[in-house]
Subunit: 285 residues, 2 copies
Amino acid sequence: MTIIGVGLLGASLAKVCKERQITGRIAGFGRNADNLKRAEEQGVIDHGTTDLKDAVAGADLVVLCSPVASIVERFREMAPHLDAGCIVTDVGSVKAPLVQDIEPLLPEGVHYVPAHPIAGAEKSGLDASTADLYEGARCILTPTDNTDKATLERIQQFWEAVGMRVQILTAEEHDFIYGAVSHLPHVVAFALINAIGQLKTSDQEDILSLSAGGLRDITRIASSDPVMWRDICLANKTHVLDMIDRFSKSLEDIRKQIEQDDGASLKESFKNANGHRGKLVGQNS
Amino acid sequence: MTIIGVGLLGASLAKVCKERQITGRIAGFGRNADNLKRAEEQGVIDHGTTDLKDAVAGADLVVLCSPVASIVERFREMAPHLDAGCIVTDVGSVKAPLVQDIEPLLPEGVHYVPAHPIAGAEKSGLDASTADLYEGARCILTPTDNTDKATLERIQQFWEAVGMRVQILTAEEHDFIYGAVSHLPHVVAFALINAIGQLKTSDQEDILSLSAGGLRDITRIASSDPVMWRDICLANKTHVLDMIDRFSKSLEDIRKQIEQDDGASLKESFKNANGHRGKLVGQNS
């Protein structure tokens, strides 16, 4: 197996594959030779290289763990060096654009099964990697009409062996859903803390210090990596813009109810929110 | 001492005052006779009554723990029955409108020190009350030019005895700050879950079930009480509308950066958010 990108996701994948003996020898590609050397020394990978051709030579399975913005480029570079029969999967948080760009580049006999393991952590990089990062989390596979059934099954088994609960969606469906339940909430959290982060009064230089637990929780994901989220928002642009507009409409409804002192509708809006939130946490309220 | 409203805040206050022997006999007013009877039986209060005149008779200290929308009305009803020398404080989450309405109603010799203990819990009511609800939390006092200095000091000592860290702000400052760090985040959480709570795809009836921890955290406060938050939003209307507009502007900035594929500015927006969030959790990043 070859892992492209030995960061949090790639190194964690290598660790669990070693621990559970899911794959044989693990090669790792990266652009930082020091990082690869450390990964080798720690036994996370068997062979680290900054040469993509060398990294994928003879690989039966290649997992693209690069940032979402460089996955297509990495695939383009490695495609000529892949053996027939090789299966490629990835960890990209956005799927339709990747599928659209990668499928036409697939060499004869090479298969691609798009994947999005819903795993991550507040920290990133090799040092934050753990063998249990994927345990119990969901992994979305987004095969297309071109995806070979047997290959899909093999990749499903691979992610399951890693500890994940696999679910199959279309790439479009995936991007719509994660635009709603993940990308929009991140954008909202970033926008919220930006809106109030610099406010002050004549006496209070730092009004954030007066906040309670609610603000801490709602803005937790505003600590997420700026580069990763820039790339996700741009890759899933259409859905993210659509979701921002849906959200703005929902906010505008509440704004109007407040402006017009429409307490009955406002209470109804908040009660609806209670209900949706109850469903989310499984209370069926 | 008399507590007006024997719910989560009122009953918790009674409990801690009993436990620490901060006050003598505690009378409780409420509209639900059964609730008062239970509070009496549990020893939370010494005397429960649905008669406001009876409740405040001879009281040296009255704490208004009613919902924010009914605090002024309760005060209006009880004002004629307050003894000279009596001090009134409250727990309302919005301060300027209360101060504005209550100060002109103050009988000769009766003092009012507006307070907002930043305490609460996901559950409400007598059964959820605990003696440590206020422990270590912040309590904002918003005295005016009319507030007697000695009385202010006495009330500051009272809330400190309860376990709180007292901070003094003007009522306007308070409403601006909590409009930003509390009311806006609640509105945003309600609007967010409403925007995505009903979305589905042809194959997925319930897309929320596909979400990860981020959505759970960011929408936690969308489980807050609809009536309480309706009342807070309407009471602090001017600031809440202002904050919604500031937030909408911040969101629109990000939306434009995504729409125009302006990755550099988008990354900058997200980095700024990281910085504000870092300040919030004390990382100085």
